[in-house]
Protein backbone atom coordinates (compact mmCIF):
# COMPACT_ATOMS: atom_id res chain seq x y z
CA UNK A 1 0.00 0.00 0.00
CA UNK A 2 0.92 3.62 -0.14
CA UNK A 3 -0.25 7.05 0.78
CA UNK A 4 -0.58 10.50 -0.75
CA UNK A 5 0.01 13.49 1.47
CA UNK A 6 -0.94 17.04 0.63
CA UNK A 7 0.30 20.14 2.39
CA UNK A 8 -1.05 22.34 3.70
CA UNK A 9 -4.50 21.00 4.55
CA UNK A 10 -5.89 24.54 4.66
CA UNK A 11 -4.39 27.45 2.75
CA UNK A 12 -5.52 31.03 3.24
CA UNK A 13 -4.18 33.76 1.01
CA UNK A 14 -4.85 37.29 -0.12
CA UNK A 15 -6.21 38.14 -3.54
CA UNK A 16 -3.32 38.45 -6.00
CA UNK A 17 -0.96 36.39 -3.87
CA UNK A 18 1.14 33.55 -5.26
CA UNK A 19 0.42 30.33 -3.39
CA UNK A 20 1.98 26.86 -3.58
CA UNK A 21 0.39 23.52 -2.80
CA UNK A 22 2.49 20.39 -2.37
CA UNK A 23 1.82 16.70 -2.94
CA UNK A 24 3.91 13.65 -2.09
CA UNK A 25 3.21 9.98 -2.91
CA UNK A 26 5.02 6.82 -1.85
CA UNK A 27 3.30 4.42 -4.27
CA UNK A 28 6.27 4.83 -6.63
CA UNK A 29 3.73 5.81 -9.29
CA UNK A 30 4.93 7.45 -12.48
CA UNK A 31 1.89 9.64 -13.10
CA UNK A 32 0.56 12.44 -10.91
CA UNK A 33 -2.39 14.79 -11.27
CA UNK A 34 -3.79 18.00 -9.83
CA UNK A 35 -7.57 18.52 -9.81
CA UNK A 36 -9.76 21.32 -8.62
CA UNK A 37 -13.12 20.58 -7.02
CA UNK A 38 -15.54 23.45 -6.53
CA UNK A 39 -18.13 23.07 -3.80
CA UNK A 40 -20.67 20.38 -4.64
CA UNK A 41 -19.23 19.79 -8.09
CA UNK A 42 -17.10 17.34 -10.01
CA UNK A 43 -13.37 17.37 -10.59
CA UNK A 44 -11.54 19.37 -13.22
CA UNK A 45 -8.00 18.56 -14.25
CA UNK A 46 -5.48 21.38 -13.86
CA UNK A 47 -2.09 19.79 -14.61
CA UNK A 48 -0.68 16.31 -14.84
CA UNK A 49 2.70 14.66 -15.24
CA UNK A 50 3.11 11.30 -16.92
CA UNK A 51 6.68 10.74 -15.79
CA UNK A 52 9.25 12.54 -13.71
CA UNK A 53 10.31 15.05 -16.38
CA UNK A 54 6.92 15.55 -17.97
CA UNK A 55 4.37 18.33 -17.45
CA UNK A 56 1.06 18.62 -19.28
CA UNK A 57 -1.82 21.08 -19.09
CA UNK A 58 -5.30 19.94 -18.22
CA UNK A 59 -8.57 21.67 -18.95
CA UNK A 60 -8.15 24.34 -16.28
CA UNK A 61 -4.46 25.27 -16.40
CA UNK A 62 -4.81 29.03 -16.86
CA UNK A 63 -3.74 30.82 -13.71
CA UNK A 64 -1.72 27.86 -12.45
CA UNK A 65 1.82 26.50 -12.77
CA UNK A 66 3.04 23.07 -11.80
CA UNK A 67 6.37 21.45 -11.06
CA UNK A 68 7.37 17.77 -10.84
CA UNK A 69 10.40 18.04 -8.61
CA UNK A 70 11.00 14.31 -8.47
CA UNK A 71 9.05 11.12 -9.03
CA UNK A 72 7.37 11.28 -5.64
CA UNK A 73 6.42 14.95 -5.55
CA UNK A 74 4.26 17.29 -7.60
CA UNK A 75 3.60 20.94 -6.71
CA UNK A 76 0.91 23.31 -7.90
CA UNK A 77 1.25 27.09 -7.82
CA UNK A 78 -1.68 29.49 -7.96
CA UNK A 79 0.04 32.37 -9.73
CA UNK A 80 -2.35 35.12 -8.58
CA UNK A 81 -5.08 33.96 -6.23
CA UNK A 82 -8.60 35.10 -7.02
CA UNK A 83 -11.73 34.88 -4.89
CA UNK A 84 -13.52 32.81 -7.52
CA UNK A 85 -11.02 30.00 -7.25
CA UNK A 86 -11.75 29.09 -3.67
CA UNK A 87 -12.02 25.32 -3.89
CA UNK A 88 -10.53 22.04 -2.76
CA UNK A 89 -7.45 20.97 -4.69
CA UNK A 90 -6.91 17.24 -4.97
CA UNK A 91 -3.70 15.50 -5.91
CA UNK A 92 -3.75 11.97 -7.34
CA UNK A 93 -1.30 9.42 -8.68
CA UNK A 94 -1.61 6.35 -10.88
CA UNK A 95 0.64 3.56 -12.14
CA UNK A 96 1.92 3.88 -15.70
CA UNK A 97 -0.04 0.84 -16.87
CA UNK A 98 -3.47 1.89 -15.59
CA UNK A 99 -4.17 5.61 -15.66
CA UNK A 100 -7.74 4.98 -14.52
CA UNK A 101 -6.55 3.53 -11.22
CA UNK A 102 -6.00 6.84 -9.47
CA UNK A 103 -5.33 7.25 -5.77
CA UNK A 104 -6.22 10.56 -4.20
CA UNK A 105 -4.79 12.67 -1.44
CA UNK A 106 -6.92 14.29 1.28
CA UNK A 107 -6.99 17.67 -0.45
CA UNK A 108 -6.00 21.26 0.25
CA UNK A 109 -8.83 23.71 0.86
CA UNK A 110 -8.01 27.15 -0.52
CA UNK A 111 -9.60 30.31 0.87
CA UNK A 112 -8.89 33.68 -0.74
CA UNK A 113 -9.56 36.78 1.33
Amino acid sequence: GGIITQTPKFLIGQEGQKLTLKCQQNFNHDTMYWYRQDSGKGLRLIYYSITENDLQKGDLSEGYDASREKKSSFSLTVTSAQKNEMAVFLCASSPWDNYAEQFFGPGTRLTVL
Binding site: L43, L90, A100, Q102, P106
Partner: protein
Protein backbone atom coordinates in the same frame (compact mmCIF):
# COMPACT_ATOMS: atom_id res chain seq x y z
CA UNK B 1 -20.07 18.14 -24.69
CA UNK B 2 -19.87 16.33 -21.39
CA UNK B 3 -17.82 13.15 -21.80
CA UNK B 4 -19.38 11.44 -18.80
CA UNK B 5 -22.94 11.99 -17.63
CA UNK B 6 -24.41 10.70 -14.41
CA UNK B 7 -27.95 10.26 -13.19
CA UNK B 8 -29.65 10.92 -10.92
CA UNK B 9 -27.83 13.96 -9.57
CA UNK B 10 -29.12 13.16 -6.11
CA UNK B 11 -30.93 10.30 -4.43
CA UNK B 12 -32.51 10.01 -1.00
CA UNK B 13 -33.17 6.57 0.43
CA UNK B 14 -34.11 4.94 3.67
CA UNK B 15 -31.70 2.55 5.27
CA UNK B 16 -32.08 -0.91 3.76
CA UNK B 17 -33.26 0.27 0.35
CA UNK B 18 -31.23 -0.37 -2.79
CA UNK B 19 -29.58 2.38 -4.81
CA UNK B 20 -29.03 2.39 -8.55
CA UNK B 21 -26.72 4.97 -10.10
CA UNK B 22 -26.24 5.41 -13.82
CA UNK B 23 -23.37 6.61 -15.94
CA UNK B 24 -23.34 7.29 -19.68
CA UNK B 25 -20.09 7.92 -21.46
CA UNK B 26 -18.87 8.91 -24.90
CA UNK B 27 -17.91 6.42 -27.59
CA UNK B 28 -14.19 6.96 -27.01
CA UNK B 29 -14.35 6.31 -23.27
CA UNK B 30 -12.43 3.40 -21.83
CA UNK B 31 -11.52 1.94 -18.44
CA UNK B 32 -14.52 3.04 -16.49
CA UNK B 33 -14.06 3.57 -12.76
CA UNK B 34 -16.43 4.37 -9.91
CA UNK B 35 -15.25 6.57 -7.03
CA UNK B 36 -16.79 7.52 -3.69
CA UNK B 37 -16.37 10.74 -1.75
CA UNK B 38 -17.47 11.00 1.85
CA UNK B 39 -18.78 14.48 2.79
CA UNK B 40 -15.70 16.64 3.35
CA UNK B 41 -13.43 13.77 2.38
CA UNK B 42 -11.28 12.75 -0.54
CA UNK B 43 -12.05 10.30 -3.34
CA UNK B 44 -11.55 6.59 -3.01
CA UNK B 45 -11.80 4.06 -5.78
CA UNK B 46 -14.75 1.69 -5.44
CA UNK B 47 -14.72 -0.41 -8.56
CA UNK B 48 -12.70 -0.52 -11.74
CA UNK B 49 -15.09 -1.92 -14.34
CA UNK B 50 -14.23 -1.40 -18.01
CA UNK B 51 -16.76 -4.05 -19.09
CA UNK B 52 -19.04 -6.73 -17.74
CA UNK B 53 -20.15 -7.12 -14.15
CA UNK B 54 -17.99 -6.70 -11.08
CA UNK B 55 -18.89 -7.19 -7.42
CA UNK B 56 -17.36 -6.04 -4.18
CA UNK B 57 -19.28 -6.37 -0.94
CA UNK B 58 -22.71 -4.76 -1.39
CA UNK B 59 -21.64 -3.05 -4.63
CA UNK B 60 -22.27 -4.35 -8.13
CA UNK B 61 -21.25 -2.53 -11.27
CA UNK B 62 -22.36 -3.48 -14.76
CA UNK B 63 -20.75 -1.83 -17.76
CA UNK B 64 -22.12 -2.38 -21.26
CA UNK B 65 -19.45 -0.88 -23.47
CA UNK B 66 -21.43 -1.18 -26.72
CA UNK B 67 -24.26 0.85 -25.19
CA UNK B 68 -21.83 3.27 -23.50
CA UNK B 69 -23.34 2.90 -20.07
CA UNK B 70 -22.43 1.70 -16.63
CA UNK B 71 -24.43 1.27 -13.46
CA UNK B 72 -23.54 1.02 -9.80
CA UNK B 73 -25.95 -0.90 -7.61
CA UNK B 74 -25.72 -0.56 -3.84
CA UNK B 75 -27.74 -3.21 -2.06
CA UNK B 76 -29.26 -2.74 1.37
CA UNK B 77 -27.96 0.82 1.75
CA UNK B 78 -26.56 1.99 5.07
CA UNK B 79 -26.29 5.47 6.56
CA UNK B 80 -22.54 5.29 6.07
CA UNK B 81 -23.06 4.93 2.30
CA UNK B 82 -24.10 8.58 2.21
CA UNK B 83 -21.82 10.70 0.07
CA UNK B 84 -21.13 11.44 -3.57
CA UNK B 85 -20.45 8.78 -6.17
CA UNK B 86 -18.46 9.66 -9.27
CA UNK B 87 -18.14 7.82 -12.52
CA UNK B 88 -14.97 8.47 -14.52
CA UNK B 89 -13.43 7.18 -17.70
CA UNK B 90 -10.31 7.62 -19.77
CA UNK B 91 -10.74 9.09 -23.21
CA UNK B 92 -9.34 6.81 -25.89
CA UNK B 93 -5.73 5.91 -25.23
CA UNK B 94 -5.13 9.04 -23.19
CA UNK B 95 -3.97 9.37 -19.62
CA UNK B 96 -6.66 11.77 -18.37
CA UNK B 97 -9.79 10.76 -16.51
CA UNK B 98 -13.01 12.59 -17.31
CA UNK B 99 -15.31 12.73 -14.31
CA UNK B 100 -19.07 12.96 -14.21
CA UNK B 101 -20.62 15.62 -11.99
CA UNK B 102 -21.39 13.07 -9.31
CA UNK B 103 -24.49 11.57 -7.71
CA UNK B 104 -25.19 12.61 -4.15
CA UNK B 105 -26.65 9.78 -2.09
CA UNK B 106 -28.32 10.43 1.24
CA UNK B 107 -29.37 7.45 3.33
CA UNK B 108 -31.58 8.21 6.30
CA UNK B 109 -32.57 6.00 9.25
Amino acid sequence: GQQVQQSPASLVLQEGENAELQCNFSSTATQLQWFYQRPGGSLVSLLYNPSGTKHTGRLTSTTVTKERRSSLHISSSQITDSGTYFCASLQGTGSKLSFGKGAKLTVSP
